[in-house]
Symmetry: C2
Subunit: 576 residues, 2 copies
């Protein structure tokens, strides 16, 4: 990788004193991944743990540091990879941790070392990116502080970390079989929501305030004990909040407290104050909270479901004002989650997010526009999600290696469509419900500016259109705008775009029946996934691949290509 070496060379060229303060660190982690019994919501199931922990250990680093994670796969028969969500992997596309895309899955008993620079401070997380392993609990937090000597553009006295997720009692193996079955079987809603890997199934910490709920027993199992966030009065805390849910869109509120949004997906935003924040799967935020309320009470942290009829009870945690006891339940009812289908509320929040002054502005124009229509379709009795009527399937041999080596027949001859029919009625089920499968690989030229229009539509059933949070690997994008109905690219649509202070993000939602327009610069050679971050939707094909200037990618390490056609070719004497 040469990165630590580069740092050394850099130091040698500079005054040592200056350098010592500025020098980025190499941070080493040795992880072992295994299945283990765990009770995330007090019901014992099998989770994927790291070093015997669930969620995995929090990585904490400073901007510019190089992270080394020596990952041993101790699963019995399953491969594994870890994706570092929000880290752009500039110059290290093979460390992006996407099976079948950036690397070969790490086989059982094998070790693979991820080495990458965390170049930008922010709130990130990591998670499995093979099959539905994220939904099996393979995730953890990755927090990057500003480089030594730098300062955040806002002040706070302390930090609280909230990694949010949802949890199913069925194993991911059963879930994957269900989603791939013919006839299709939907996996349903998650049984629980988790805060830092803990929840309570079939009971409520706030039963006194919740009709028909059973009060949870006093904690007997630390694995599902209520999460307590200790705070002191009259201080300001930075809450780092990220959602790695499989399915659920979430809303976070804290009783009696306002939240000031200051960061989204590792980028600073123009601060604004809200009562609650929405988090779609893949989102991360920092919000500031000031402990300016009655100090005799504790307060509920409440996380509920949005965007789908909520069949999963909110997750609750306790904001514990010192010196109150942690076990003192808040007197007031937990804040109510906004109605699941109050999209005006959702849009008000999402549309309000703008870049903080000083954020790099987008290029004024794009070189290319790719319009991606999301539809739900049928194929041979299976149900799929498709993009421009093609449902994504991943290859046996990861793209990064096979495209770099120019292996024949890696890609289908026909490139996927750049647009969809202008007359498509997004308010109705697809007129042609049948889809095909394909690789959905878009080849991007180096340093071109690309606009992507994500167009939502009606699903197979009438009057159904779901939210889809799309996540881009290897890049941040500017979210230029949102609109309802079909995108036309006309003056009215143009008027909805914000070229002045659009936020930089790596995840953006499309609202039901709506569109979202993103812009990014293809300045990071590699092969990058761009997909709906909802785990079952990705499993059902909702994604595309950006193969970006692969000829400019450096030598891909052998460990990342030691499978499939790349291994065969290299063993036969080919070179990377």
């Amino acid at each position: 990788m040469g990165l630590p070496l580069l740092a050394l060379v850099c130091c040698a060229l500079m005054a040592w004193q200056h350098c010592a303060a500025e020098a980025a660190k190499a941070r080493h982690f040795k992880w072992e991944i295994s299945n283990m019994f765990w009770s995330p919501d007090c019901e014992e199931k099998v989770v994927i743990g790291i070093n015997g922990q669930f969620p995995g250990p929090t990585i904490r680093a400073r901007a510019g540091d190089t992270i080394h994670v020596q990952l041993k796969n101790a699963l019995h028969t399953e491969g594994v990879v870890i994706h570092w969500h929000g880290i752009r992997q500039i110059g290290t596309p093979w460390a992006d941790g996407t099976a079948a895309i950036s690397q070969c899955a790490i086989n059982p008993e094998e070790t693979f070392t991820y080495r990458f620079v965390v170049d930008k401070p922010g709130t990130y997380f990591y998670h499995g990116h093979y099959g539905m392993q994220r939904a099996a609990g393979l995730y953890g937090s990755l927090i990057v502080d500003v480089a030594e000597g730098k300062e955040e553009p806002f002040k706070y006295d302390g930090e609280l970390n909230l990694l949010l997720s949802d949890w199913y009692h069925e194993s991911i193996h059963t879930q994957m079989v269900a989603l791939s079955s013919k006839p299709f079987r939907w996996i349903g809603e998650p049984q629980s929501l988790l805060i830092n890997g803990r929840g309570q199934f079939n009971c409520s910490l706030a039963a006194a305030h919740t009709q028909g709920a059973n009060q949870c027993a006093a904690a007997v199992n630390t694995q599902c004990a209520p999460v307590v966030f200790p705070v002191q009065p009259n201080k300001t805390y930075r809450l780092r909040v990220a959602s790695t849910t499989s399915l659920a869109s979430l809303n976070l509120a804290i009783g009696n407290h306002k939240l000031t949004v200051v960061e989204a997906d590792g980028n600073y935003v123009d601060p604004f104050v809200v009562d609650d924040i929405d988090l779609y799967s893949g989102d991360s935020y920092s919000v500031l909270l000031t402990t300016d309320q009655d100090t005799s009470s504790n307060y509920w942290v409440s996380v509920g479901v949005r965007g789908r009829l909520p069949k999963t009870a909110p997750a609750l945690a306790v904001l514990n004002y010192g010196p109150n006891r942690a076990s003192k339940l808040p007197a007031l009812a937990p804040p109510a989650t906004p109605a699941w289908d109050d999209y005006d509320h959702s849009k008000a929040f999402t549309y309000r997010i703008r870049a903080r002054a000083g954020t790099p502005p987008p290029p004024a124009t794009a070189d290319r526009r790719i319009e991606l229509l999301n539809t739900q379709n049928k194929m041979d009795g299976h149900i799929k999600w498709s993009i421009n009527n093609v449902s994504m399937v991943l290859p046996a041999t990861p793209y990064l290696g096979s495209l770099k080596m120019g292996l024949k027949s890696t890609l289908a001859a026909a490139r996927p469509a750049e647009t969809f029919s202008r007359g498509y009625d997004v308010t109705l089920p697809p007129p042609n419900p049948n889809t095909t499968v394909g690789d959905n690989v878009y080849v991007l030229a180096h340093n071109t500016t690309v606009d992507v229009v994500l167009q939502n539509a009606n699903a197979l059933s009438r009057n159904v259109s779901e939210v889809h949070p799309w996540h881009l690997h290897g890049h941040d994008f500017w979210v230029l705008g949102y609109g309802d109905g079909a995108y036309r690219g006309d003056a009215a649509d143009e008027a909805r775009l914000n070229l002045r202070d659009p936020p930089l993000r790596n995840t953006a939602v499309i609202f039901p029946y709506g569109w979202t327009l993103l812009r990014f610069v293809a300045d990071n050679p590699g092969v990058w996934a761009f997909h709906c971050h909802i785990e079952p939707h990705l499993h059902m094909g909702m994604g595309v691949i950006f193969a970006e200037a692969v000829d400019l990618v450096g030598k891909v390490p052998n460990e990342a290509v030691s499978c499939g056609a790349t291994a065969t070719a290299l063993m036969a004497g080919a070179h990377m």
Copy 2:
């Protein structure tokens, strides 16, 4: 592989007419392995199926044929292999289908083609050999008829096939986590026994004869419908019976009918008549049955548990005498399974098995004797099975490739012990319960004759010693003898050996507190597993590896070594 070519050359050298009759066929199969919903015992679970079937398709061939199975792994995140149980793989050790031993597991979406000759007629089966995938339902029958123009040494009018197994409701993933857990969790007894993949949980087809049992409802699900074997009166049938259980030792009996044993593990035996036969996991038999009973009735085929306190109800099927209706339940009670701990009955059956005249006799003496003491042990709070106090762990890179390439540090420097302490008291728990893990690789010189003494002992708890059926890959062995207590190698033990007509087999049981002595010739270069065929016992380390004349192994196909250290070395320019 050159085998079909060899056949052609052979034909070219011979008179065409003769050759046409004798020519072995290439038999091609295209299989896809996937997880799917299935109800083996009327409770729906996930099974591993082949081409949407469970059990997998039956392969039927003639001796001398070459089998080509093009196997696509359509599991989502799990590797897979298939072992062809009882096929010696002469000259094709890379096709033995043992992950981490003979080949790299086939990754999801990859295809691997097994090509091998079935050189010997007999009753075989195939099954997964990675993790505990056999217990997930990855198995099927493999039946080899005599070559064209040859005859079996016994006559029969028809055939019935009975592939027997047991079935757990917990997924193998949960089972593997349990067995690897600290503290250890035993998986318990299987929920059901299956005949040809079908059983009935929590009800009995013969409830009228079974105290406290519920009569099964009239079949509503063909996946668990009672198995019916249609026969005509006054005919002789060959029953091909094989056991691929995960745990259970079985006993098969058929109401009112005698069974004449004629084949064991693909070798003819001296025919003998019994009321019932024992089958340990890994065993296969052919028995002849003559339909000489009252033709107005149907008869029960009953399969019950032996060797462990039976907590699993017998599996029942119907022997349907034409022209009775298949649905006519037999009037008599199903034959009772002998008491689980009636080892005299078990030994009487097992000891009676002798080679049919004409079977190759064993060499009169052996060049080497390896004595393997089976003990149950503890390691760091885990429970293991050990051989000479070492519990087997498999490597990341399969042995066949790594040993063939002479990769450094593939094997531990110290070779495993060839014997155990003569003073070891097999009637007591191990005096030193602690074990270590190791590779347990025994290196065998070409064409040497090897004796193996399998010595059973007391487990960790007092007064517990279990049966263990040991299965050898790549070879048949002669079962020279059995004894109770510790093997001493003295005159009394020698007197228990049968050098005149010992049966050739690939699986042999050791009885509680007893020993079994096997002899085989190391005439098949390769790396071969030798292990207890009980799935959880193998998972817990109960096995050894025979690395046999690896320098004489032909070129291992790249597809079998495209993982781990062999892939890395070959990609770096090394040659196989």
